[in-house]
C-alpha cells in the first residue's frame, strides 16, 4: 500500500509499562499508518486504556520508545483527538451541546473567550459533521448516550487531528446507535485520512469497517487483520491459556476467556 512509504502515525518499539509493581504491557511493538481504522480489543484491565494514555503522553513507558506523528508523545498535542466514553451527565448542568463541542476548539486557552462568528461557524460545522446540529442548543445533561458520544467526537475533531483515539465509545449504546457511531467514525476516517484507534469490547459491529485489530491480553499485544488475529491459535498464545474462537452467523465469538 502507498501509505507504507510515509512516516507511520504511531510506532511502538519494545514498550514495557510497569505501574505499581504490576507489568501492564510487556515488550509491545507495533506500527500504525495514516488513514487506518483499527479496533483495540481485549479483556478488562488488560491495558487498552494504558495504550491510549501512552499515546496521549499521560504516562511514560518504563522501557522502549514511542513515536507519535514523528515525535515523542506529549500532552496538549492538537494533532491527536481524544474522545472518551460518554458519561451520565447531570440533567441540570448549565452547558449546551455547542458549549461542550466548543471546548475542543479553545477550552485550553486562558481567559473567558469572546464569541465570534468564525468560532461559531467552526463549531456548527463540527456539529453538522456528526449530525448533531439539530440539538446544538440543548443542555447536554438531557441528551442520550449516543448523542453525547457524537458531541465528544465532534469535540475531538475540531482541531483537525491526524490521529483519533476513542475510549469505548460504543459501550452502553444499543445496536442501532452503535452502528450510527461506527458509520460516522468510518466516514471521518476515510474522508479526512485520519488514523483511528477505537477501544471496544465487541468487535462484531466493527468488522466491516476496520482495517486491522490490536488485541491486548496478558500484557501482550498482537496486531493484524481480524481474520489473522481473532483465531483460536493466536489468542491462545496471547492469553497463555486455551481460548476458542467460534465463527457463527458471520460473527466471531471469543470463548474461554474474559472478554
Amino acid at each position: 500500500m502507498a501509505q507504507r512509504q510515509e512516516t507511520p502515525v504511531i510506532t511502538l518499539d519494545h514498550i514495557d509499562v510497569r505501574l505499581g509493581g504490576r507489568t501492564i504491557l510487556d515488550d509491545v511493538s507495533l506500527t500504525v499508518h495514516a488513514g487506518e481504522f483499527i479496533a483495540i480489543l481485549g479483556p478488562n484491565g488488560a491495558g487498552k486504556s494504558t495504550l491510549l494514555k501512552l499515546l496521549l503522553g499521560l504516562i511514560k513507558p518504563t522501557a522502549g520508545t514511542i513515536q507519535v506523528l514523528g515525535r515523542a508523545p506529549r500532552r496538549g498535542n492538537v494533532d491527536i483527538g481524544y474522545a472518551p466514553q460518554h458519561r451520565e451527565l447531570e440533567a441540570d448542568l448549565a452547558l449546551r451541546a455547542r458549549d461542550v463541542v466548543g471546548f475542543g476548539l479553545d477550552g485550553h486557552h486562558w481567559g473567558p473567550g469572546w464569541p465570534n462568528r468564525k468560532r461559531t461557524a467552526l463549531i456548527e460545522q463540527a456539529l453538522q459533521e456528526v449530525d448533531a446540529l439539530h440539538f446544538a442548543d440543548a443542555p447536554v445533561g438531557q441528551l442520550s448516550g449516543g448523542e453525547q458520544q457524537r458531541l465528544l467526537i465532534a469535540q475531538a475533531l475540531l482541531t483537525n487531528p491526524r490521529l483519533l483515539l476513542m475510549d469505548e465509545p460504543l459501550s452502553n449504546l444499543d445496536i442501532s446507535r452503535a452502528q450510527e457511531i461506527i458509520t460516522l467514525v468510518n466516514g471521518v476516517c476515510r474522508t479526512r485520512n485520519v488514523a483511528v484507534l477505537l477501544v471496544a469490547h465487541d468487535v462484531n459491529p466493527l468488522l466491516n469497517a476496520i482495517d486491522r485489530v490490536i488485541y491486548v491480553a496478558n500484557g501482550h499485544c498482537a496486531i493484524g487483520a481480524p481474520t489473522e488475529i481473532i483465531t483460536s491459535n493466536t489468542l491462545s498464545k496471547l492469553y497463555g491459556s486455551p481460548v476458542e474462537v467460534v465463527n457463527a452467523m458471520g460473527r466471531m465469538f471469543v470463548v474461554g476467556a474474559e472478554t
Binding site: Y82, R96, H108, W110, Q142, L143
Partner: protein, 311 residues
C-alpha cells in the same frame, strides 16, 4: 411601603458601606458558587466557613489578630480539599468529619477565652451593619484579585470541570487548577465571613447560583443571573432588616429566607422546563416508531390475506 422606601433613602448615607461591602461579596460569592456547584463541591463550601471560624477563634485564644487565623485556616482547609481530588464519596465524608471537628474546635476555643459572646456572635452572623470604609476597601481589593484570577482561568476551569481527562490530554493543568480554585474560594470565604458571618456565607455562595443554573442553560447567562440574584437578595435583605425591623433581627436571616423562598418554587417547578425539549423530541421519535410498527403490521396482514386468497 412608600414610607419604608423614604426611610431607606434617609438611611442610605449610613448604609453606604454596608451596601457596598454586601454587593461586592454577593458578586464574588455568586461567581465562586457557580463553579462550586458545577464541580460538585458545594459541601466544601459548607465546611470552609466552619474551618475559618475555628481559625479565628484559635487566633483570639492565642492573642493574635483573628483575621490572620481566619485566613490561615480557611486557606489551609481550601487547599487541603483541593488535594483530596475528585473521588466524591470518600471526599465528602472526609470533609464532613473535618467540618464538625472544626466547629467543635471553634466553640471550645471561644469557651476557653472565657466568654466574649459578642465576638462569637460577630463571627457567626457578621458585622455587616457596622462596616468601616477600610473594610470596604480591603474587601474590594481582595475581591478584584479573586475575580480577575477566576476570569483568567475561566475556560480551562470549565473544561476540566466537565471532563478532566480530555482537558488533561489537551495540556490543561487540571490538578493545579483545582487547587488554585479552592484557594480562591477560601479567600472569598474568609473575606465574606467578616462581613456577613459564617452562617450566611454558604447561602450567598450556593443559593443564587443553584437557582440560576436551574433557569439558564449556558454558563454566561447562569453566572449573570446568579450575580443578579445575589445582589437582589442582599439589597432586599438589608432593606428589610434595617427599615422594616430597625436592625433588631440579623440581616443574615432575611437574606437566607429570601434565597430559600426563591429557590424552593423554582426547584419544584423546574421539571416543567428542564428536559421539555428533549422529552418532546423523544415522544415524537416514539410516535414515529409506533406508526412504523402499525405500518409493518398492516403489511403483514395484507400479505397473509393475499396468501389466504390464493389457497
Amino acid at each position: 411601603m412608600l414610607q419604608a422606601f423614604q426611610e431607606f433613602w434617609l438611611y442610605f448615607p449610613l448604609l453606604q458601606n454596608t451596601l457596598l461591602a454586601g454587593s461586592i461579596i454577593a458578586i464574588v460569592a455568586a461567581l465562586m458558587g457557580y463553579f462550586l456547584i458545577m464541580r460538585g463541591l458545594t459541601f466544601a463550601g459548607h465546611a470552609l466557613p466552619y474551618v475559618g471560624f475555628a481559625g479565628a477563634a484559635g487566633a483570639v485564644l492565642l492573642g493574635i489578630d483573628p483575621v490572620f487565623g481566619l485566613f490561615a485556616f480557611t486557606l489551609a482547609g481550601g487547599v487541603g480539599i483541593g488535594f483530596l481530588g475528585k473521588e466524591a464519596h470518600a471526599r465528602d465524608i472526609t470533609i464532613g468529619i473535618l467540618m464538625t471537628f472544626a466547629l467543635g474546635l471553634g466553640l471550645m476555643f471561644f469557651a476557653l477565652y472565657s466568654g466574649y459572646a459578642e465576638l462569637v456572635y460577630s463571627y457567626l452572623f457578621g458585622t455587616i451593619l457596622g462596616i468601616s470604609q477600610q473594610d470596604v476597601l480591603v474587601t474590594a481589593v481582595c475581591s478584584l484579585i479573586a475575580v480577575a484570577a477566576l476570569i483568567v482561568m475561566f475556560r480551562p476551569l470549565l473544561f476540566s470541570t466537565m471532563d478532566p481527562i480530555v482537558a488533561s490530554s489537551r495540556g490543561i493543568p487540571v490538578y493545579a487548577l483545582s487547587i488554585i480554585f479552592m484557594a480562591l474560594v477560601a479567600i472569598a470565604v474568609a473575606m465574606s465571613i467578616q462581613i456577613v458571618g459564617t452562617l450566611l456565607v454558604f447561602t450567598l455562595l450556593v443559593g443564587p447560583a443553584a437557582t440560576a443554573i436551574r433557569i439558564a442553560n449556558r454558563p454566561l447567562w447562569a453566572i449573570i443571573l446568579a450575580v443578579f440574584l445575589g445582589l437582589l437578595y442582599t439589597w432586599l435583605g438589608i432593606f428589610l432588616a434595617v427599615v422594616l425591623f430597625n436592625g433588631t433581627l440579623p440581616v443574615s436571616f432575611f437574606i437566607a429566607t429570601i434565597s430559600f423562598s426563591v429557590y424552593l418554587p423554582i426547584r419544584l417547578l423546574s421539571p416543567l422546563w428542564i428536559g421539555r425539549g428533549i422529552r418532546r423530541q423523544r415522544n415524537q421519535e416514539q410516535q414515529v416508531e409506533i406508526e412504523f410498527e402499525h405500518l409493518k403490521a398492516r403489511e403483514c396482514v395484507a400479505v397473509e390475506v393475499k396468501q389466504e386468497s390464493f389457497k
